[in-house]
């Protein structure tokens, strides 16, 4: 740890340090009542102190848990820090979860205290109160509509602060003493993983395991007190917590809370964050908006945009990476920055972004390149709730679209023979709360955390994650087969809506394709191709041709990756119907259920592998109006060109 | 006795002058009634009509031919105004239309002088501006022959307009438009035609006024100011009433002359430039809706 932060091993200590060292600097802002209401670090600390006194007076004790159910609000962060001051453990819960989903965490952690944002959250808690006997006190931030609530559990945040003020007057040194008796190994917070399988698990982090990685990553990106971040993702997600809490406490930068979920874009433009995080879907939506709004622009602007985006595509990334670029291109890029990129960054609120991160799922290379090409330093990282986010981070100048970057200093990585990524780092969680069985499974005796993610190191030592281990198979020749990786690569093309790849224990990879009816429809319209709908489009030779090109580009990419070069897609067909969650082909979150599809369309799969050029299907079709009919046709099967793996080329 | 006669002489002179004011005011009322436009350019139209006519006759045209051609020009002007100025401004606030007619005033003033030059012209219609002999002989009252003629012309014009409005199909359509634009549209009257017609009629009225005023004051730029004389008449009589224009004109004309003669000397004279306005204003303070206007109830 640097000199300044020596001995500051807990968040409350850090907070008090900032209150002393930069008391007048903004700690947290919130757009409220039309302006950015600001708490300085000193005010923030004072608020936390009063809140802590109040909570203590209400009986919150060291080691007990407090649930926090709120959007990003200054008082949420105050309550969180206040609990930490007392040695109590904040447990942020997803504010958009339904009441029933909150029952388990509250029972599991025997939560007695809860901080709720508003009437809506209070209502949820009151609803589950009979099931959660431990829950005794509920504090609410926004008193609107709460006038007629007479439940004894309820108390307004203001009232809590009032109590805190009295308690503080009685014993002014109480909070300082409590803070002093905390240590880095104490539990700092608990995050419940969403739990796609089975019950949620409470991931327990100590102060040390959150502060360590936060500090390392902040150093890596040279973050400081002048930085600003917009806190707009759910606070219950560890990433939000790290970016808008842990790192802020480490560096002293300013956290900004938007006015409401609807105004995030406007608020972002106003605040102009310097440090930014967005999952790929947010970036994708943003790009879609940019494209749509550009389509309405005048001819001149569209022309400028196209021209200069070409330039940016060519050299923007290289310029950002500090690589040599011809003077002419540099000049063009400068011009483009003046009329297109600069204004574009400005209108999407990213003018001041020094460092932006994306993570969570695979990001499309075009999407990723777009942001980098217009001069936004977007990078990728890899991490999870259990690892306090920072495992791999792409350092400046080593940014790639398809890797997660090398390990952060202090993190050890290793791949099992099954290609599972193992991690040992100071940021590892202590345990799953009250779930030693799960803890044992995830964390082996040597301290390696089993991520369940499969991947490998690329030539530059960057980690490349391809899929979940349980989904990764092997081709007959032993090559790694990562269906989701291939499918994602295909889905990055706008024309392809869904893809299902087969290949486990087979000699080659084949794929089902679902075209994107909108994108292909547009494409068809531009070419004056009349069509009647998805089924019609999906049978067109032109469309097959288009899809084949996409697949071949994927194959070309794959050929450059020795580990999986052999899993290129040899044959494909375009499905006659769109995959539907209603038909059990997709999960509710729109993930393909590969096994189910493989069984349901067994004939098609065998036809692909049998080398046929067409296959007859007869299927029940459900129309939009609810009627059903039968569909019968011959589906075409096409071959795609495969490329000689680069490694073997070099070898040869 | 002579004072009484003098009073009546002044009164009659005022009333007759009032008729002339009324004539100009009539043009305003026509257009306002049909299109809701307060046509500030009416004065410029008077000037334009008179100047066109006088320039044609000075070039040796026959009186009637010149009259017909001038009328045609005024009708054309009405149509062009409707097309170029009013149609694009349909549904705009009235104040906007008013300001547009101020613009139109400038255009007309510039245009007429650009075409015909800016030197003043005399105009003769063959009726001498001399006192009626029999009147002055019998009662020693001096009333101009021309003034009487003007009064007859104005009266005739009003009668013609009344017939036009009440007896002809177009006239009835015009009234329908004035009452409710939407309703008029609904019964299938093409608003644009109506407007063009009414502007043409206003042009005709302007021509008549221009001729009469031209004889009195000469055809020169100052003729545009007669419009300013008509404005108090409008305030007094209401913007929508032909009757109001006549009565208002008479009141203004009479009071102005009387004031000039009986009050003027005490304040140094020259009060006719503003007296009419003050009369109108004072009147307005007591009856904001004008002489013949309807009381407006603000519905909320």
């Amino acid at each position: 740890m640097s000199g300044e932060l020596t001995g500051l091993d807990t968040f409350p200590k850090l907070l008090m340090h900032h209150a002393r060292a930069r008391g007048d600097r903004p700690a947290i802002r919130e757009k409220d009542l039309g302006i950015w209401q600001t708490w300085t670090w000193a005010q923030f600390a004072e608020q936390v102190r009063l809140c802590a006194c109040g909570l203590a007076a209400q009986g919150l004790r060291r080691g007990s848990h407090i649930a926090l159910i709120s959007d990003n609000r200054p008082r949420l962060y105050a309550a969180m820090a206040a609990a930490q001051c007392l040695g109590a453990i904040p447990v942020p819960l997803y504010q958009d979860a339904v009441a029933a989903e909150m029952v388990f965490p509250i029972q599991n952690a025997e939560i007695g205290f809860a901080f709720a944002e508003d009437q809506e959250q209070v209502d949820k808690l009151l609803e589950i109160l009979p099931q959660c006997l431990s829950l005794k006190r509920i504090y609410y931030d926004d008193p609107r509509g709460m006038r007629h609530y007479a439940q004894p559990e309820l108390m307004a945040y203001e009232k809590l602060i009032e109590l805190g003020r009295e308690a503080h007057r009685r014993d002014p040194s109480f909070v300082e003493n409590e803070i002093a008796s905390g240590a880095g190994d104490d539990t700092a917070a608990m995050f419940f993983t969403s739990g796609t399988t089975g019950v949620p698990k409470g991931v327990v982090h100590s102060h040390a395991s959150l502060i360590g990685p936060s500090l390392t990553a902040a150093r890596l990106d040279r973050l400081g007190e002048g930085d600003v971040i917009l806190a707009y993702l759910p606070p219950a997600w560890i990433g939000q917590n790290i970016f808008s809490c842990a790192q802020a406490f480490v560096t002293g930068y300013c956290i900004c809370c938007p006015e409401s979920a609807e105004t995030v874009m406007t608020d972002m433009r106003e605040i102009g964050p310097t440090y930014y995080f967005a999952p790929p879907r947010v970036l994708e939506n943003l790009l879609t908006q940019v494209s749509i709004r550009m389509e309405d622009a005048s001819r001149l602007k569209r022309w400028l945009y196209r021209r200069f985006m070409d330039v940016a595509n060519r050299v923007g990334g290289a310029i950002l990476d500090g690589k040599p670029v011809p003077a002419l291109d540099r000049g063009l890029y400068w011009l483009g920055d003046l009329v297109v990129y600069g204004p574009l960054r400005n209108v999407i609120g990213m003018s001041r972004v020094k460092v932006g991160y994306t993570a969570g799922e695979a990001i499309g290379p075009d999407l990723f390149k777009f942001y980098r090409s217009i001069g936004i330093n977007l990078k990728q990282l890899y991490g999870s709730t259990e690892t306090a986010v920072f495992v791999c981070v792409q350092p400046d100048g080593q940014v790639k679209a398809d890797t997660a970057g090398p390990a952060v200093p202090g993190v050890e990585l290793r791949f099992t023979p099954e290609r599972e990524l193992l991690i040992r780092s100071p940021g590892l969680f202590r345990e799953y709360y009250k779930n030693p069985e799960a803890t044992r499974q995830a964390k082996d005796p040597e301290g390696w955390f089993h991520t369940g993610d499969a991947g490998y190191f690329d030539q530059d030592g960057h980690v490349k994650i391809i899929d979940r281990v349980k989904d990764v198979g092997r081709l007959a020749d032993g090559t790694l087969f990562a269906p989701k990786y291939l499918e994602n690569k295909l889905k990055f093309f706008p024309y392809i809506r869904e893809a299902v790849c087969f290949g486990d224990a087979r000699d080659k990879v084949c794929a089902f394709i679902n075209i994107d009816p909108e994108a292909i429809g547009n494409w068809a319209e531009r070419r004056n191709m009349p069509y009647s709908g998805y089924t019609d489009l999906s049978a067109r030779d032109e469309v097959y041709e288009l899809v084949r090109e996409c697949i071949e580009r994927v194959n070309a990419d794959l050929s450059a990756e020795p580990e999986i070069a052999n899993s290129q897609i040899h044959r494909f067909l375009i499905l006659h119907k769109e995959l539907e969650a209603d038909d059990g082909e997709l999960t509710r979150t729109r993930k393909v259920r590969r096994g189910f599809i493989g069984e349901k369309y067994g004939e098609l799969v065998s036809a692909l592998y049998a080398g046929k050029t067409s296959v007859h299907v007869e299927a029940q079709v459900r129309y939009e109006d609810g009627r059903t009919g039968t569909y019968s046709a011959d589906l075409k099967i096409r071959d795609a060109k495969v490329f000689t793996p680069a490694a073997s080329q070099r070898a040869a | 006795m002579s004072e009484v006669i003098f009073f009546f002489e002044v009164l009659a002179g005022g009333l007759l002058a009032g008729v002339m004011y009324a004539l100009v005011a009539l043009g305003f009322v026509l257009i306002y009634k049909a299109s809701g436009v307060f046509n500030f350019a009416q004065g410029a139209m008077v000037f334009f009509a008179a100047l066109t006519f006088v320039s044609l006759t000075e070039r040796g045209w026959n009186f009637w031919l010149a009259l017909v051609v001038t009328l045609a020009v005024m009708v054309l002007l009405g149509i062009v105004t409707e097309r170029v100025v009013l149609r694009p401004l349909v549904n705009q606030p009235q104040i906007t239309l008013f300001m547009a007619t101020i613009g139109l005033t400038f255009v007309l003033e510039g245009l007429s002088q650009l075409i015909w030059g800016s030197q003043p012209h005399g105009l003769e219609l063959g009726i001498p501006d001399v006192p009626m002999e029999w009147l002055s002989q019998k009662w020693n009252v001096n009333i101009s022959q021309f003034d009487l003629f003007s009064a007859f012309v104005a009266g005739g014009l009003v009668a013609v307009l009344a017939v036009f409005f009440h007896r002809t199909r177009i006239g009835r359509a015009l009234r329908a438009v004035a009452d409710d634009h939407q309703a008029a549209l609904a019964v299938g009257i093409p608003l644009q035609h109506i407007w063009a017609i009414v502007w043409a009629v206003a042009g005709f009225v302007a021509l008549v006024a221009g001729l009469l005023w031209g004889v009195r004051n000469g055809v020169q730029f100052a003729l545009t100011f007669v419009a300013l004389k008509a404005l108090p008449v409008l305030i007094l009589g209401g913007f929508e009433s032909i009757m109001g224009a006549i009565v208002g004109g008479l009141i203004i004309g009479a009071s102005e002359k009387l004031a000039e003669v009986y009050v003027g000397p005490f304040v140094g004279g020259g009060i006719e430039s503003w007296f009419a306005y003050v009369v109108a204003l004072v009147f307005l303070l007591f009856r904001p809706e004008g002489l013949f206007g309807e009381k407006i109830i603000d519905r909320v």
Binding site: L33, G34, R147 | -
Partner: protein, 262 residues
Amino acid sequence: MSAARRAGDVILSVQDVSLAFGGVRALQEVSFDVCEHEIRAIIGPNGAGKSSMLNVLNGVYHPQQGKIRLRNKEFADMDSHQAADLGIARTFQNIALFKGMSVLDNLMTGRNLKMRCNFLQQALWLGPAKREELEHRRAVEEIIDFLEIQHIRKTPVGRLPYGLQKRVELGRALAAEPAVLLLDEPMAGMNLEEKRDMCRFILDVNDHYGTTIVLIEHDMGVVMDISDRVVVLDYGRKIADGSPDEVRGNQSVVDAYLGVAH
């Protein structure tokens, strides 16, 4: 829900008010009272005199006969400025917002009676004028927050859709912190969702600020749900007065709504 609300003493009462325009008798000897904190509805078929009644209440129309009593003051008639001064605010059936101004400015005008600085101080933007302006801005922001119109704060009202304009108008009336709020067909021309929102806001206003609300509405259903007591007018006369349930059962009300001849 209305049972739980605390209704206070009579705050406003109307005694034998008659109003005529020329020969048309808009109101005939209408009397009723309004209690503090209640939601009082005036309903009736078209042309029943509802709007006239409201206009009498805030001094836009002057009744020929009768008295209005606000708290302890009695008026034969009052002008609208006086009504505003006494804490009566209103909205209009056909939105009467200031079209050329932003939402924020519209709401700020609602506070004009609370502003004390003179125009010279304002012209110089001196300490007190600036301070006053900013204080009131804050108060108005509370209302913006309350009505959930943050995103249109600086939009000129002319550009807003109808439903939002109605909400802004409610905001302007609220900005005056009225004791009595008159709402002239607050839900006219709205779709179902907008109506539901408006109902919620009316109830919230009543609940949160304790404002006494007098609303007239043409659509009976909505009113019955949210009001404590209802006056029914027909042809300028009061034909019923009581709780929504009482009124609903009243035969003359049913007749009036069904158009039975008198």
